[in-house]
C-alpha cells in the first residue's frame, strides 16, 4: 500500500508543482497571480478533448492547439484582470482573476456540458506493476514531463536573454523599463507561459481525471498552497513542495482517512504561513522603506 500511495501521490504532486510553477512565474515578474490558474488546467483538458476526442484531430495537433489556447487565455487574463490593476498596488487583481475563473468555468459548463467525459489514452488503459503497486503508465508520465518542464523553465529564466529580462522586471519594473525592457509585454508573456504550464497539466491529467468543467477548482487551490509552501519566489522550493504535498496528501488519505486529506493539507498551509510565510525556498523579505 505504501508504494501505491507514494507513486500516485508523487504523480499528482508533480502536477501540483507544475501548476504552482505557473503561479511563481507571474509572481516573479509582476507580484501578481492568476487565481484562475486551476481553471486554465480545465481549459487545457477541455480544448484537448474538443480537438482530439470530439474533433478527431491527431494528438500532436490537439496538443498544439491546446497550448495555444492556454497561452491565449493567459494573455486574456493579464489584459483584463491584471494589467488595469498593476499600478494600483491593491490586490484587486486577486478578485478580478477569481471572477474570470468563475466565468470561464461556467462558460465551459454551457459549451462543454456538465457531464464528465473520458479522454482515452493508451497509457491509461492497463496498469503496470511497480514494486507490487498497480500504476497506470500515464501516472508515471506525469512526473517525468513535469520535472522536464520545470527544468526547461529554469533554463529559460537563467540561461536565455529574454528569460533574464523577465527576472529583471521582477526585481524592479521601473528600472527594467528604463533599461528598455518592455514591461507590459514581459508581464503578458509571463502570464502566457504560466498558462501554458497549466494547460500541459490539464492535458496530462485528462485521461486520469476525466474532463469536466469543475475539474480545475480544487487543483488550482492546492497548487496555490504548494506555491506558498514552496515559496512564491522560489522555483526550486515549489518543485519540492509539489512532490511533498502530493505525497503527504496520499499518505494521509491512505493511513488516516480520506476525509482528513483536505483538512490536513490546508492546515499545513496555514501553519506554513504562520511560521514561515516566505516558504521553504524563499527568503525573508526586507521591508523597503
Amino acid at each position: 500500500m505504501l508504494v501505491q500511495l507514494a507513486v500516485s501521490g508523487l504523480a499528482l504532486g508533480s502536477m501540483y508543482g507544475l501548476v504552482a510553477l505557473g503561479y511563481h512565474m507571474t509572481w516573479a515578474t509582476s507580484r501578481t497571480l492568476n487565481f484562475s490558474q486551476g481553471h486554465v488546467v480545465m481549459v487545457g483538458a477541455v480544448v484537448a478533448y474538443a480537438a482530439h476526442v470530439a474533433g478527431g484531430w491527431p494528438l500532436a495537433a490537439a496538443v498544439a492547439v491546446t497550448l495555444l489556447a492556454a497561452a491565449a487565455f493567459g494573455l486574456v487574463v493579464e489584459r483584463i484582470a491584471v494589467r488595469p490593476f498593476f499600478r494600483a498596488g491593491s490586490p484587486v487583481w486577486l478578485l478580478a482573476t477569481i471572477a474570470l475563473g468563475i466565468i470561464v468555468e461556467n462558460v465551459a459548463m454551457l459549451a462543454f456540458g456538465k457531464d464528465a467525459r473520458a479522454f482515452p489514452s493508451a497509457l491509461a488503459l492497463k496498469p503496470v506493476f511497480v514494486l507490487g503497486a498497480g500504476v497506470y503508465p500515464q501516472e508515471l508520465l506525469l512526473p517525468v514531463v513535469g520535472v522536464a518542464l520545470m527544468g526547461a523553465t529554469q533554463l529559460f529564466y537563467h540561461r536565455t536573454f529574454y528569460g533574464r529580462q523577465l527576472k529583471a522586471v521582477a526585481w524592479d519594473s521601473e528600472a527594467a523599463g528604463l533599461m528598455g525592457i518592455d514591461v507590459p509585454r514581459a508581464v503578458a508573456v509571463s502570464y502566457a507561459l504560466s498558462s501554458v504550464l497549466a494547460g500541459v497539466a490539464g492535458l496530462l491529467l485528462a485521461p486520469l481525471l476525466n474532463v469536466s468543467p469543475t475539474m480545475g477548482t480544487l487543483i488550482g487551490l492546492k497548487a496555490f498552497a504548494v506555491a506558498i509552501i514552496g515559496g512564491l519566489t522560489s522555483a526550486a522550493g515549489i518543485v519540492v513542495a509539489g512532490f511533498l504535498y502530493g505525497l503527504v496528501e496520499a499518505l494521509v488519505a491512505g493511513y488516516v482517512s480520506t476525509g482528513a486529506r483536505e483538512i490536513v493539507g490546508f492546515a499545513v498551509v496555514i501553519a506554513m504561513l504562520i511560521v514561515r510565510p516566505w516558504g521553504l525556498g524563499g527568503a525573508r523579505p526586507a521591508r523597503r522603506v
Binding site: L33, F35, I80, A81, P84, F85, S90, P91, V92, L94, L95, A96, I98, A99, L100, G101, I102, I103, E105, N106, V107, M109, L110, T217, L221, F224, A225, I228, L232, S257, G259, A260, E262, I263, F266, A267, V269, I270, L273, I274, P277, A286, R287, V289
Partner: protein
C-alpha cells in the same frame, strides 16, 4: 433628499414589509437580505475600512450557525442565549485566525482565509458526531418570545432589527477614532506605525469584529431555516459575501445593504437565465472591480460631487471613510483655527506638547544630547550600508545629514526610527536604548519621521491624517466607538488644528490627502509629526521636488520648529538649505562619517568636497 431622510424611508419601508404581505416567499427573501446585510456589514469593516480581503468568511458564518444550532438542539438553549453564544464563539475563533494570519497581506492572507474556510467546511462534513456530517442538523426549534414561538413575520422584524443594528454599528465605527485608525493602517501601514499604531493589533481587532458579525448572521440563518447542512458554507458563499460588499461599495455604510438587495433579488428576477447565474456573478465581480471601485454607493456619491473640499464637509451619507474629525462634543470655538497662514511659534508650541508621549513630561533641556548613535553598523547581504557610525544630536538644534546617494542616510533613519534593526552598535533616544525596538514603540517615545516618498493616508482628509497622529494609540474602547461615542476629545481636535495651522495647511483641512498638491504633501507629514507630539523629528529629504518659494517656506518652518524647542534631524541633498539652516552637519560617505561640525567648516572640508560637494574648478 438628505441621507438621513433616505435612511428613514428605507427603515420605514423595511418595517412595513410584513404588514403588506403574508407571502412567506417575500418575507423569506427579505430575511435573506437582512442576514446578508449583517455578514456583509462585518466584512465591510474588514475589507472596506481595513483593506483586508477575506475569502473565508463562510467558515465564520458556519461556526456561528452551527454553534447556535447545537446550542438549541443539544443544550436546549433558547434563541436569546444561543445567538450571543454564537457571536462570542465565532469572535474567539476569528481572533485566533486573525492573530495567526494578520501579519500577512494580499494573496497570503487570501490563502489563509481560503484554507480556513475549507478546513471548516471539511470539519462540518467529517466531524459527524458534532455536526451531523453531510446530513446536517435538523429540527432547530423556532425562537420563542415569552414562551411563544415566533411567527415568520415576527422573526422578520428581528432580522430587520439586526440588520439595522449592523449598519448602525459600522457607521459609528467608521466615524470614530477607531475607524480612522483602520483606514490609516490600510492606507499606509508604515505611516501608521511611525505614529504609534500597531497595525497588527488594529487589523486583528477589525477581523475579530467582522467575525462577530458573521457569527450573528450565522445564528440568525440557523433559526430561519430550522436546518443546517455543510452545502451552505462553501468557498462560493465566501465569494458571494465579498461580492456583496464590493458591488455595494467597499467602506460605505449603505454598501452592504445595496449589495445584499442586488445579489439576493437579481437571481429571483432572471429565472429564464438561471444557467447563466454564475456567469452573471463572475461578471458582476469583474465589473465591480473595473467600473465601480467604490461600488454602487460610492459611484453615486461621487457623482454628487462629494470629492471636493467644500462639499466634503457636508458629505452625503454615502461618502467613503470617516468624515473630517467629526465627533460628539468639540465645542464650536475650536473649529476656528482653520484660518490661513502660519501664526508663529505659539501654535507649534501648543501642537507638540509632550504630555501624551510615553517618554514623560518635562521641557527639552537645550543642548542636551537627545539622540546618540555609537558605532552603529548595518549590512545588507554583502553590502556595508553603515560602518561604525557615531553621531550625537542635541536638543533644540537642526542637525543635518548629507552625503552622496548610497551613503547610508536613509538606512540610518530607518534604524533610528525602528523600521530596521542595527547589526551592531547602540542607539539611544533620550538616554534610553532603542536599537532594535519596533517602530511603534520608538514613535511612542517621541520620535517621528517622514518618508522619502510621503506616506499619507490618501483616503482620509488632511485634518483626519493629522487627527490620526494626534490620537495616536489612544483609540478608546471599541465598544464606545461602536456605540457612537468614539469621537475626538476637544484637546485632540485642538492639537490637530494647531499642527495644521503651524505648517500652513489650515485651509486644506477637508481635502482628501490624495488630492493635495505635491509640495503640500510633505508639509502634511510634518504636521502629523507635530500633532503626534514628537520632540525629535527626522525628515527624509523634505525639500526634494519643491519649488524655490516652497523651500523658503520650509526653511521658515524649520526655524520655527527649532525655536519651539524641537530637535530636527534633516536628511537632505539641497545643500543651500542645509548650510543655511543647520546648527550642525554630519557627512556620510559609504557608511562612514567623514566629517562633522558647523556648516561653514564642513563646507570647506576637503574630504567632503572630494566625496560630495565637488572641488571648485
Amino acid at each position: 433628499m438628505t441621507p438621513a431622510a433616505a435612511w428613514l424611508v428605507v427603515a420605514a419601508a423595511a418595517a412595513v414589509v410584513p404588514l403588506l404581505t403574508a407571502n412567506t416567499y417575500y418575507l423569506y427573501l427579505a430575511m435573506t437580505i437582512g442576514i446578508l446585510v449583517v455578514v456583509a456589514g462585518g466584512l465591510n469593516v474588514l475589507a472596506g475600512l481595513t483593506g483586508q480581503i477575506s475569502l473565508g468568511h463562510a467558515g465564520l458564518y458556519a461556526i456561528g450557525a452551527y454553534t447556535a444550532a447545537l446550542a438549541a438542539t443539544r443544550l436546549g438553549l433558547g434563541f436569546w442565549t444561543a445567538l450571543p453564544l454564537a457571536v462570542v464563539v465565532t469572535a474567539i475563533i476569528g481572533a485566533a485566525v486573525a492573530l495567526a494570519a494578520l501579519r500577512l497581506s494580499g494573496p497570503y492572507l487570501a490563502m489563509v482565509t481560503i484554507a480556513f474556510g475549507i478546513i471548516v467546511e471539511g470539519a462540518l462534513v467529517e466531524w459527524v458526531a458534532l455536526t451531523g456530517g453531510p446530513g446536517g442538523i435538523f429540527d432547530i426549534p423556532k425562537p420563542r418570545l415569552a414562551g411563544v414561538p415566533l411567527a415568520l413575520s415576527r422573526y422578520y422584524w428581528l432580522v430587520a432589527a439586526a440588520a439595522a443594528l449592523a449598519l448602525l454599528l459600522t457607521r459609528n465605527l467608521a466615524r470614530s477614532a477607531w475607524g480612522r485608525a483602520l483606514v490609516a493602517v490600510r492606507d499606509s501601514e508604515l505611516a501608521a506605525e511611525s505614529l504609534g499604531l500597531f497595525a497588527y493589533r488594529v487589523r486583528t481587532t477589525a477581523f475579530t469584529l467582522s467575525a462577530a458579525f458573521a457569527g450573528a448572521g450565522g445564528a440568525l440563518f440557523a433559526f430561519l431555516n430550522g436546518y443546517l447542512s455543510p452545502d451552505s458554507f462553501t468557498l462560493q458563499t465566501s465569494i458571494l459575501f465579498l461580492l456583496t460588499v464590493l458591488f455595494g461599495g467597499l467602506g460605505t455604510v449603505a454598501g452592504p445593504l445595496v449589495g445584499a438587495v442586488a445579489l439576493v433579488l437579481l437571481p429571483e428576477l432572471m429565472h429564464q437565465f438561471v444557467e447563466y447565474r454564475l456567469i452573471l456573478y463572475g461578471s458582476l465581480l469583474l465589473l465591480s472591480v473595473y467600473f465601480l471601485p467604490r461600488g454602487v454607493v460610492g459611484a453615486l456619491a461621487r457623482r454628487r460631487g462629494v470629492g471636493s473640499a467644500a462639499a466634503g464637509a457636508a458629505a452625503a451619507g454615502g461618502s467613503p471613510g470617516p468624515r473630517p474629525g467629526r465627533g460628539p462634543g468639540p465645542p464650536p470655538a475650536t473649529a476656528a483655527p482653520a484660518a490661513a497662514g502660519p501664526r508663529g511659534g505659539d501654535f507649534v508650541e501648543r501642537a507638540h506638547r509632550p504630555e501624551h508621549t510615553e517618554a514623560g513630561g518635562g521641557p527639552a533641556v537645550l543642548h542636551a544630547v537627545v539622540l546618540q548613535l555609537t558605532g552603529v553598523t548595518k549590512s545588507f547581504g554583502g553590502v556595508r550600508a553603515l560602518d561604525g557610525v557615531t553621531l550625537a544630536v542635541r536638543a533644540g538644534t537642526i542637525h543635518s545629514l548629507i552625503g552622496p546617494n548610497g551613503a547610508g542616510k536613509t538606512t540610518l533613519v530607518n534604524l533610528v526610527s525602528g523600521f530596521d534593526r542595527p547589526d551592531g552598535g547602540t542607539i539611544e533616544l533620550f538616554g534610553e536604548p532603542v536599537g532594535g525596538r519596533s517602530a511603534v514603540r520608538i514613535a511612542r517615545r517621541g520620535l517621528a519621521r517622514t518618508f522619502q516618498t510621503p506616506q499619507l493616508f490618501e483616503e482620509l482628509a488632511v485634518l483626519d491624517n493629522v487627527l490620526v497622529a494626534a490620537t495616536g494609540p489612544r483609540l478608546g474602547w471599541l465598544a464606545a466607538a461602536l456605540a457612537g461615542a468614539g469621537g475626538d476629545a476637544a484637546a485632540t481636535r485642538a492639537r490637530a488644528d494647531d499642527a495644521l495651522a503651524a505648517v500652513g495647511l489650515g485651509e486644506w483641512a477637508a481635502t482628501p490627502a490624495a488630492d493635495l498638491p505635491f509640495g503640500h504633501r510633505r508639509r502634511l507629514e510634518i504636521a502629523r509629526a507635530l500633532a503626534a507630539g514628537a520632540r525629535v523629528l527626522m525628515l527624509d529629504e523634505p525639500a526634494a521636488g519643491l519649488a524655490p518659494a516652497e523651500i523658503e517656506a520650509l526653511d521658515a518652518l524649520l526655524s520655527r520648529l527649532r525655536a519651539a524647542g524641537l530637535t530636527v534631524v534633516l536628511i537632505e541633498h539641497h545643500v543651500e538649505l542645509v548650510m543655511a539652516i543647520s546648527d550642525r552637519v554630519t557627512v556620510l560617505d559609504e557608511g562612514r562619517v567623514i566629517a562633522e561640525g558647523a556648516p561653514a567648516a564642513v563646507q570647506r572640508d576637503p574630504a567632503v568636497l572630494a566625496a560630495y560637494l565637488g572641488t571648485p574648478a
